[in-house]
Symmetry: none
Subunit: 197 residues, 4 copies
């Protein structure tokens, strides 16, 4: 038994992120997460209702944090839509750069568990997407973004693109820097692949 000054609740969730990233949600064992966190198996259930609750808390933390950042960006009247979009991407990359395992969990497990829409983090997640959408709308209205954009499709397109780029980085963060991926993502998002003459 190890005496930790730290916050058990936080330690357990942190261990869960790493285990979920490494082994996948279903293969990860609660007893192993507990051991990694330096607590007894039963202690996991003091702080979390069950295994699924761990996953939900991970995503609630993630999306509520991103929602907060994005809200600040959106509400800043002095920033152009293009810069708002750029800052949004920076925010997302920033969260994951601090925790690569979280990127992997996000990529692999966001659709895991629960009957579809009933996920507790969905509220934060959807609001995040909605605010992102409002920034795109603003850009279309201001003439910065093309008015050929279908908002519904765009949201999934860009989201998948960023998500998968992050996932790549999570696996290879020793081989390629997050900055390169971030800037390349912005480039592709803004300009597309065609050469402009």
């Amino acid at each position: 038994m190890r005496t930790k000054e730290g916050n058990k609740e936080r330690d357990i969730l942190s261990a869960a992120i790493n285990r979920f990233a490494e082994d996948g949600y279903f293969n990860a064992k609660i007893s192993q997460i507990a051991e990694d966190a330096g607590v007894a198996t039963g202690s996991v259930y003091v702080y979390y209702k069950n295994k699924e609750d761990l996953l939900n808390k991970i995503f609630i933390n993630l999306w509520s944090e991103l929602l907060e950042k994005l809200t600040v960006i959106r509400n800043d009247l002095g920033i152009s839509p293009i810069n708002k979009m750029s800052m949004t991407i920076d925010s997302v990359f920033s969260v994951f750069s601090e925790n690569p395992s979280l990127a992997t969990v996000f990529v692999n497990e966001q659709n895991t568990v629960s009957n579809k829409e009933n996920k507790p983090f969905r509220t934060y997640y959807n609001r995040f997407l909605d605010i992102g959408e409002s920034i795109v709308k603003e850009g279309i209205n201001s003439g910065d973004f093309s008015d050929d954009i279908n908002l519904q499709v765009f949201r999934h397109f860009i989201f998948g693109a960023i998500r998968n780029s992050l996932s790549f980085w999570a696996i290879s963060h020793d081989k390629i820097s997050l900055e390169i991926i971030r800037e390349q993502s912005k480039f592709l998002l803004f300009k597309g692949i065609e050469k402009h003459h």
Copy 2:
């Protein structure tokens, strides 16, 4: 010798795709897949080594089919890089439009099971990505595509974008047509979101 008219092997794999899409790989039960396929539980094991083998076979079929299509496109000297890219996207969308559940399985389970790189379908998958990359290279050399493109990042960016767009359609194919998603994806890929004056 008892022989049934239908193709059991195909029926089982088809049922597996639907169940994996609906319930997720880990929640899906072999007994349920067998029931859906109209065979006895044990019959699954006549055609497939185990549950994981079912998932592997799904992806082997998927990627070998797409690899074949892409190879034909790449080798056609009379097609411009831009059209090759467009046709590649058409191919991917075409495969999934015939089988929406497959799109969901692809999105959620491609990273499931197996110790990372040892997946049997990886050979096909990697060759598919390599050929895709060679088309982009060709476009850069011909001056059609921007030479600011980082090939390594691009492959994950576009792949995640398409994947997530398909996943969105798989859930909502009653609400939005695949054509709209496909064309919007091409638009975003080629032009980006910025308005060109």
Copy 3:
């Protein structure tokens, strides 16, 4: 499909003996026995009722053969009890020397399967033991064998001794000859281990 001139029924039983010896009764698979015998799985059930029947037939063959031999020996008035006993042991060793796998099956599986006494080969087996016992009785009466012998115990003692010696040979028949084991067994049986001055 292989055309065999040989007797399928015999081939299957022979394959069963080898598989039971090699893998043990419970680990042996009918499909493997069939393959070894060069027949289809279903053909095993043409000749034998079920897996247990295979084991029973093996022991019925064994004990009916030994019973026959022993009956001839017992009924020969011109042979002394000591020689009858010696010939009995020769008979047992002879059967197994022709089929080492049978020795292993005998050692490991005679008590396998069936609720205790209901085994079909028991009739032959018990009659074999009874005749053996009558030879010992004859030897006691004639003054050749010690009258301190408890017949009931003796039967199990000598039987286990021979059985285990054979089992040893079955595993190591490349290292030690059956003749040495047979003669040593007779020696120990007749003289015991004490030195007689």
Copy 4:
């Protein structure tokens, strides 16, 4: 922490011995063993790795106990070889007289499971046999035992004899006393069946 008064680990092993004796290793069900032991099925796996581990532990306990006893006997300089041999047999009978089911498991299942030589109890078992052999050697050298004895054959002969005698008693311990079997075994071992004039 939930702790019950009894010794679950011991109870489970004890129940396993009885079930293995009654039903045979392969027919015995873990759930039944658990029920017999008064614990839940899963509790078996808290103390034992798997079914095979139960069998191995049974034999490890058996042979390590007998090895210890035999070592003491062998090392006692004041005992004659004949008495050492006699005490060895007493030790073996003593162990099984306390646990008739163990005798049955020993007879029927010692060769079960595992690829032949890789059994964990083999170390103890072989050392037990080696010490037994060294006692016989001592007897031959001292002139107490016949120098016609082949040690390799003898060990299997006597072992099978004792084993089978015990097995007989295990089934019929209501009909015949272990003392009679033990003394008769010694008699046959030392003197053989021939009458000495």
